[in-house]
Symmetry: C2
Amino acid sequence: MDLLTLYKCLSEPNRIRILNLLKEGPLCVCQIQQALDEPQVKMSKHLGYMKERGLLLSTRKANWSFYEINWDAHPLVRPNIEGISQSFAENIDFTKDVKQLEDSFCP
Amino acid sequence: MDLLTLYKCLSEPNRIRILNLLKEGPLCVCQIQQALDEPQVKMSKHLGYMKERGLLLSTRKANWSFYEINWDAHPLVRPNIEGISQSFAENIDFTKDVKQLEDSFCP
DNA sequence: AATTCATATTCCTTGACAAGAATATACCTG
DNA sequence: CAGGTATATTCTTGTCAAGGAATATGAATT
């Protein structure tokens, strides 16, 4: 994955929110969807966008697709994704996202 | 400057090439233009884009505008711009840019 | 004041991509 | 196989931004 592609992945608020959740580990689409309180199609498309470009990996288990960050995609992946949570604290409501993630369930 | 804006600035190859040159210090538009061998309007617009968003600073001396990186714009500016030269070595012809910069002159 | 040089702005066309609606696929369970 | 659930794809529409051509501004020189 080249750096330009990485930056394109990072240039979208919904994707930033998703990455902030995935930072802790893999999640299935339904949990992300609940945490961000956004329509399924929207999440699926952003996840697909990042997977297609190599930033995410996915595995399917039965009905569920689990996505996780591909930390090896590029050396700058880690510093940027680790920098996200502090940097966006004021602009994007991450606290709400994380809280809703805790309340979410994957049936 | 928020992180999302930073990523938008970084998501464009011409801007990446410009930042790679500015990494070493301030330059005037005509030098950048010569180094990258691109039309003046194009360079001016990309420089304006980044200045408008806080990533670059500019000072005018007589006919010339000098642009430099605003390293304090965001904590992630430095690691990303420092990571650029290695990361793009294969994709973008930075060596040529830098060589042409050496040959460039500011009248 | 007129000219010249460096830089910036405006207008237009084009392409990428985000969002929503509708639909399709994949996989399990009865 | 039928039906349900989780996820993905297609289509359309609107917005943002990149590129080029032409023009405008700002500042020095004659």
